[in-house]
Symmetry: C2
Subunit: 494 residues, 2 copies
Amino acid sequence: MMNSYTDIFLDQIDPLLQRSLQAFLDFRSRPLADRAKLLRAIAAELEDMGDHWLAVANKETHLPEARLKNERARTIFQLESYALACEQGDWMRISIDTALPERNPPRPDLRKMMIPLGPVIVFGASNFPYAYSTAGGDTASAIAAGCSVIVKAHPAHPETSALAAAAIERAVDRTGMPKYIFQHLYGASFEVGKNLVQHPLSAAVGFTGSFKGGKQLFDWANQREKPIPVFAEMGSVNPIFLLPGILQSDALELASKVAASVTLGVGQFCTNPGILVAVQSESLDSFRAHLTDLMEQVPSAPMLHEGIQHAYQSHAAAHRDQPGVSTCVRANELAEGLASPQLTVVDADRFMSNAQLQQEVFGPATLLVVCKDKEQLLAVAQTIEGQLTCSVFGIKEDFIEFQTLLQFLPLRCGRLNYNMVPTGVEVLQSMHHGGPFPATTDARFTAVGSDAILRFVRPVSYQNCPEEWLPTELQSANPLNILRKVNGEWTRIG
Amino acid sequence: MMNSYTDIFLDQIDPLLQRSLQAFLDFRSRPLADRAKLLRAIAAELEDMGDHWLAVANKETHLPEARLKNERARTIFQLESYALACEQGDWMRISIDTALPERNPPRPDLRKMMIPLGPVIVFGASNFPYAYSTAGGDTASAIAAGCSVIVKAHPAHPETSALAAAAIERAVDRTGMPKYIFQHLYGASFEVGKNLVQHPLSAAVGFTGSFKGGKQLFDWANQREKPIPVFAEMGSVNPIFLLPGILQSDALELASKVAASVTLGVGQFCTNPGILVAVQSESLDSFRAHLTDLMEQVPSAPMLHEGIQHAYQSHAAAHRDQPGVSTCVRANELAEGLASPQLTVVDADRFMSNAQLQQEVFGPATLLVVCKDKEQLLAVAQTIEGQLTCSVFGIKEDFIEFQTLLQFLPLRCGRLNYNMVPTGVEVLQSMHHGGPFPATTDARFTAVGSDAILRFVRPVSYQNCPEEWLPTELQSANPLNILRKVNGEWTRIG
């Protein structure tokens, strides 16, 4: 066990992966119900830590208690919803086509299900110390998939992570699961990440963080002799398109929603709206004036750590200094890790010719892009990079007028919001939290909701397998009561 | 249109992709039923070509008429089954969670479905001039997904491909689909492939062929500024494990099945069994003698083209020349593109220490690996690379004795066969035709069966979208009668 917060030695990585593989082989041979049991036990252990875990996370991340309470509830809910997913089993996408011995040539019995990939490497996120760190969504969905997990804790909140790791270890022990199904380590160095991702026994990687970090993991994984999948959630500026009708009818209300979304959690969300796009008009001027007022009133607040604060100040300054950018609200240079909001404005021509303006400024900053007309707004939409989310605000007439935009935006994002800000990610099956590169390295998979399990599995077909050797999930009597596609029809009947 | 068989000029690639994108944008805005209509029209046009298409393919590929008739039937069946998949829509994996306005905070309406990726580049295969070429499975599944398609014809059967392309173009025209939804080109050069895969508008790649070719496409795609998915089906040696009990009870019958599978279609199948693994015994000696007799009796036959024949002869010779390999049946050096079978034998120690013996010999050749005992057979299984298929032949007692092997093999392959040879790939939902690297570049996706559509789509969530702006597939009334998961329950009810 590595329970100090010092970096792992590189020569410890091979034994770590060897143990992880052995635990995986044991775990995957156990009933699906065991995964649910383990996930529920982890949820209970986290709950049992009570206020102590909150106090430690508050000290390490400066996130307020109310936010941490919410995030803890979400983390526990995630674990429980993956447990439920294991009990239901739909995500295994079982398909059975029974033999047709009379056909010429005879058709064999074929049954398909999902199997786990193997040891999964998880890199914890800084901005979700609970929900996307040691006991977060990546760990929970990898366990639901039947994988073993190795978490590299985020160096910004080591003690919060250590408490979560100890809770998971207690749950593993209490439920009698293989000890090394979960392992936890510390390592801020480049070499630790590289050695984990490139170890021959690693089977997949989950990551939430910067574009630079995620892309590096992706490249390492693809340069392996045997490439492995990397699910990296990276930067996103989550553009909001503000259409003319709603600006005219409701500029103040709109400004208030946008200001709240931009500054929520000191802007430290992957779905933070960093770009606003609208056609010039008097209503837009009025919206901009309201937004300026509202953002100026937002008090400065501490960011997660000083590294993030420094990056925010330098990226916010870099945006302000681009040609043609004017500043309505300026991010102050504050001490003690504090940050204040920023609102900048640029015209669409400048925006479209300067890729740097699409770079994420991680923090409470947003850039208003002012278009001459509808056509230019459509042109801006086409230059936007892949995003986790896009949002449109409009009234009925706007949606009729801007149909082309509504048709186009799904091609650029993983979630399209109507008259809602992008912050606030529901943990639901219908949630897709992912998006085209560079928002993530694999737009086909979500990091939120039960489908996140699909990142860590792959299908296998069993052909002509005697009933007694079939995995339980595929047996004709359907002992696990899973909804399966049998000879083309969905049924729970065996 | 490029209807000569000369290579496309590199400066024609950009306009080709631009047209493909425009056609895609048009096609994706049309009803799902239009995809089915187009696919059925293509099937009808192929059927209408009658014997002429057979004669041309026979001349270009040397495949006998009976095989070509079967392959044509399969190609038409594939198109029709993707049409049916579009009519049913299950593969869209629609999930709907309706709003809970009373919740605090209110839960928004969220609906998720699959959308097409964009222009897909398909590289035709040499060994399936119909089923995995111009009008083959990749083209059909990409159209079902709603993508536009650009096919680079395989240079070994240009006229067969040209006829298929013309049939598709007639079907596009007859059904009123956007003209450039399908484009066909020729290009044997390295640069053509690279320019197609690295063009910024290309969205995904389908390929069937050699490891070298597939890996090159994969690397090009990942070196792009925006990486795209590559579905390359590459080499596989499809090991068959022959267990002691069945060898003892049925050595001749077993030898006859294996000989037929190894030499089927002059061994030119991706599921051809190139490795046989068994524990030494008198029964194995007897099996080997039978197999030698049977393979010696198989007449030489023409391979697809001279390039494949030359590769076969040199790879077969390279296998024979490895240390410790003895030759039971030797591939003759024949003229006129002909090939004859080869059977070689090696002991497990030599096999495990020589990775070259795992290289695919594309053609009617197989290598028998003789193990000292059960433990050594398990060790051989662990050294086997990722495969499309693994197969085990055994009686009940064998399966009890070799449980560890049965548990392990799914981790190495996409399909596990019991008492069946790997050749013969059923086109069914339950078929997984894919496997861990290096069998394919993405083990999570199949190239056969309706799930192959999933290669060319990704999920998008619509949040709080007014009913009238929802895609038809997601509308509350469920006008397309798709089975959807609504608030956690599978239903066709709106």
